[in-house]
């Protein structure tokens, strides 16, 4: 710690640092230049820049961060169970990444706009998305599930990294809004909102990440690139995606890159708050690499025993984000047994709610699919819908519906 002050200077020495950190990154050891405030043993350290942000967190805030992480972990367990029971087609577990998601999500402000990948259930929680809505896509009743305008939390994007460009474009829109507003009422021109683009170590190889960083840098767009390096892109380790710490890539684009301990919710919160401030103040983009680990499978269709050692998983479990915050809260006398018991009870209640709601999610009508292909009237869609109605009506006399007939192979 201590030498990672964000800088846009190209000093050349970083290359050697990168080489050194490379081996560490691949082995999963904490690299030298990683912001960490709360160590796995629950001891709170200091940092010349980010302690100032961490200090703003009240005991209530800290308990809230713990409660959020516990809730989303419980939710994750429930959703995985729902998949195993055939209630969901697929689930994308987040266990292990709670601190990265809750810490960054809680650092955002309501006016900020978030572009997630498809694993940001924890961020969704911080944006007040109804968690049951998250299940719609995985149950096959929606390709979205919620209205992003309600929460400024965009729909999940499944084509890797496509959303990073949307995030930059959105940030370019914020910049223009400020100018339009300044032109109309003489108000300040600083962007008062920022955007977070989430992506992973695997997606970092996609060309869209590169293009998004080029655009963001060129236009100094108010966007924070938040990369959760969870070490595995399905079965491929991070060292196939990069030979240098991902955070160092920011230097090549000319904006600050920070690697943060992604299992340290206090550090993640502090770093993200700093980065969002930096962006909102008109200083341009920031790349945050949250160094974390996907403890479970990529999805419920995956089998991690085929590509990685259980010893590695055990090593990361020892750095568990919840356990370390619990140690800290207990040691500092900020939370007691009653608090943790309530957190557990709340989690079970959330799980029951999600389970109940998932069961109750109604299958949509394909007419809704016809309705939303275009925003404006479209003759081909209208013609095909009319045909479908006529075709369906042909089954009305019998007991079968069109769908049943199709399944029966009629």
């Amino acid at each position: 710690m201590g030498t990672h002050l964000p800088s846009t200077e190209f000093d050349g020495t970083a290359v050697d640092d990168q080489r050194e950190a490379d081996a560490e990154a691949v082995m999963g050891e904490p690299p030298a230049q990683m912001v960490q405030l709360l160590a796995p043993d629950g001891k709170l350290g200091t940092d010349p820049v980010f302690s100032g942000y961490a200090d703003k967190l009240t005991p209530e805030d800290l308990r809230g961060l713990y409660a959020d992480m516990a809730a989303i972990r419980r939710f994750d367990v429930e959703a995985t169970a729902l998949q195993r029971q055939g209630q969901l087609a697929l689930w994308v577990p987040l266990t292990g990444q709670e601190a990265a998601q809750i810490g960054s999500g809680r650092a955002s402000q309501p006016q900020d706009y978030i572009f997630p990948t498809y694993r940001e259930h924890g961020v969704a929680l911080t944006r007040n998305v109804d968690l049951a809505e998250l299940l719609r896509q995985f149950r096959g009743v929606s390709n979205g599930g919620w209205n992003p305008k309600d929460t400024n939390f965009h729909l999940y994007t499944l084509v890797l990294a496509a959303q990073t460009l949307h995030a930059v474009g959105y940030a370019m829109g914020i910049q223009r809004d400020q100018k339009l507003s300044a032109a109309s009422d003489g108000a300040g021109q600083k962007p008062d909102a920022a955007v977070i683009a989430y992506f992973g170590d695997g997606a970092s190889s996609e060309g869209d990440v590169h293009e998004s960083m080029v655009f963001a840098s060129s236009y100094k767009a108010p966007v924070v690139f938040f990369c959760q390096n969870n070490h595995w892109a399905i079965s491929v380790p991070t060292n196939v995606q990069t030979r240098v710490p991902l955070s160092n890539r920011a230097k090549g684009y000319g904006f600050p890159g920070i690697r943060v301990d992604g299992n340290d919710v206090i550090a993640v919160h502090a770093v993200t708050e700093w980065a969002l401030e930096h962006a909102r103040q008109g200083n341009g983009p920031v790349l945050i690499e949250a160094f974390t680990y996907r403890v479970g499978a990529h999805t419920t269709a995956d089998d991690p025993t085929k590509y990685r050692q259980s010893a590695e998983e055990d090593a990361w479990r020892a750095k568990d984000p919840l356990a370390r915050l619990e140690k800290y809260l207990r040691a500092e006398g900020l939370a007691d047994d009653a608090f943790f018991a309530k957190v557990k009870a709340d989690g079970d209640e959330l799980a029951a709610y999600v389970r109940r709601t998932a069961h109750d999610l109604e299958n949509p009508d394909i007419r809704q699919s016809f309705a939303n292909v275009y925003a404006e009237a479209h003759p081909l869609v209208a013609e095909e819908l009319a045909w479908f109605e006529e075709y369906s009506a042909g089954f009305a006399d019998g007991e079968e519906t069109a769908g049943q007939a199709a399944k029966a192979g009629h």
Binding site: Y113, S142, N143, G144, N147, P148, K149, H154, L155, T157, V159, A162, T164, L165, H166, A167, V168, G169, Y170, A171, M172, G173, I174, Q175, R176, D177, K179, L180, G207, D208, E211, S212, V214, F215, S218, Q368, S369, A371, N372, V373, Y374, A375, E376, H378, P379, L380, V381
Partner: protein, 326 residues
């Protein structure tokens, strides 16, 4: 009524859009001080500034992807793709993101992005500069695709594309950029609906459907056919998605014969789609099979042989001969 080229008409249409809609902006490579490689955006950066006429990094996925983000924030971006063959780095953003955003959000989100693509051959250029990839986009639900063939349409269609709440790709016939014609900047007239086909020449014996750069060729072929005593109706399709099948069907019900001409390869193309639909809608009116005139199943050939590749008057006349031989 002013006379101007198609390039100038689009330029004026963009100028009117930028002046009338403060949330509209242009994005693309070299569209600023240079005015674009075809000068379609000439002078606009001087009038509207670099926040409205944005010279982007050289990255097509980046242009489309950031345009989507701008649209989500309430803006109406108009993207210029420099040449048809360079749209493919942006193909993913167009087909997996732009086309689907409205549907996957249950209609909560709209992304009124316009993509301008100069297309087609006949300019003696190098590889990737002469292609007609419209069918690849027409196959994707969620997109609208239009192509003007004359300055009046060009002036209005670019503005209509920006006003439309759906994503619109406007294929601009690059070898006709310098085609001149009258533009009524006060009255859209029959150009009011950009998704409607226009009957440009009435006839009774056969119908030729064309769009974009082949419209003047189809008209010339019809004139030549008239010398042989054949009365050929010519339709400018104007919109490739949706296609105005009502206008085409009505024409075929009158003439009984249909030729569809486009520069793009015939296999899997727009002509095949029209042939299939018309055979369903007007089967009993047809005196002959629908005949397609188009490019061959090959990568767009080198400039020195492109005249053998591109449909011309004789190719359309030959197709008419075949149609009349049944």
């Amino acid at each position: 009524m002013p006379t101007m080229t198609i390039a100038k008409a689009i330029n004026e249409g963009l100028r009117a859009t930028l002046a009338g809609n403060p949330k509209s902006l242009l994005m693309g490579e070299d569209i600023g001080p240079l005015g674009g490689v075809y000068r379609v955006t000439d002078g606009l950066i001087g009038e509207f500034g670099p926040d409205r006429v944005v010279d982007t990094p050289l990255a097509e996925s980046g242009i489309i992807g950031t345009a989507i983000g701008l649209a989500l924030r309430g803006y109406s971006p108009v993207c210029e793709i420099q040449f048809d063959g360079f749209v493919f780095p942006g193909f993913n953003q167009i087909t997996t993101q732009l086309a689907k955003m409205h549907a996957r959000s249950h209609g909560n989100l709209t992304v009124p992005v316009v993509i301008r693509i100069p297309y087609g051959g006949g300019i003696g250029s190098v590889e990737h500069h002469s292609e007609s990839p419209e069918a690849l986009f027409a196959h994707t639900a969620g997109l609208r695709i239009i192509t003007p063939s004359n300055p009046h349409d060009a002036y209005w269609m670019i503005q209509q594309a920006v006003a439309c709440q759906d994503p619109v790709i406007i294929f601009e016939p690059k070898r006709r950029y310098w085609l001149k014609g009258e533009v009524d900047v006060e009255d859209q007239g029959p150009a009011e609906d950009p998704f409607k086909a226009h009957v440009l020449r009435e006839g009774t014996d056969a119908t030729v459907v064309a769009y974009g750069p082949l419209v003047p060729v189809a008209l010339a072929a019809a004139n030549a056919a008239a010398e042989d005593g054949r009365s050929v109706e010519v339709i400018d399709l104007r919109s490739i998605s949706p296609i105005d099948f009502d206008t085409v069907t009505a024409s075929v019900q009158k003439t009984g014969r249909l030729i569809v001409a486009h520069e793009a390869p015939t296999f899997g193309g727009i002509g095949g789609e029209i042939a299939a639909r018309i055979s369903e809608r007007a089967f009993h009116s047809l005196e002959s099979p629908v005949i397609r005139v188009g490019g061959f199943h090959m990568p767009y050939p080198v400039a020195k042989v492109e005249e053998d590749y591109l449909p011309d008057i004789d190719r359309i006349l030959e197709a008419l001969d075949r149609a009349f031989s049944y």
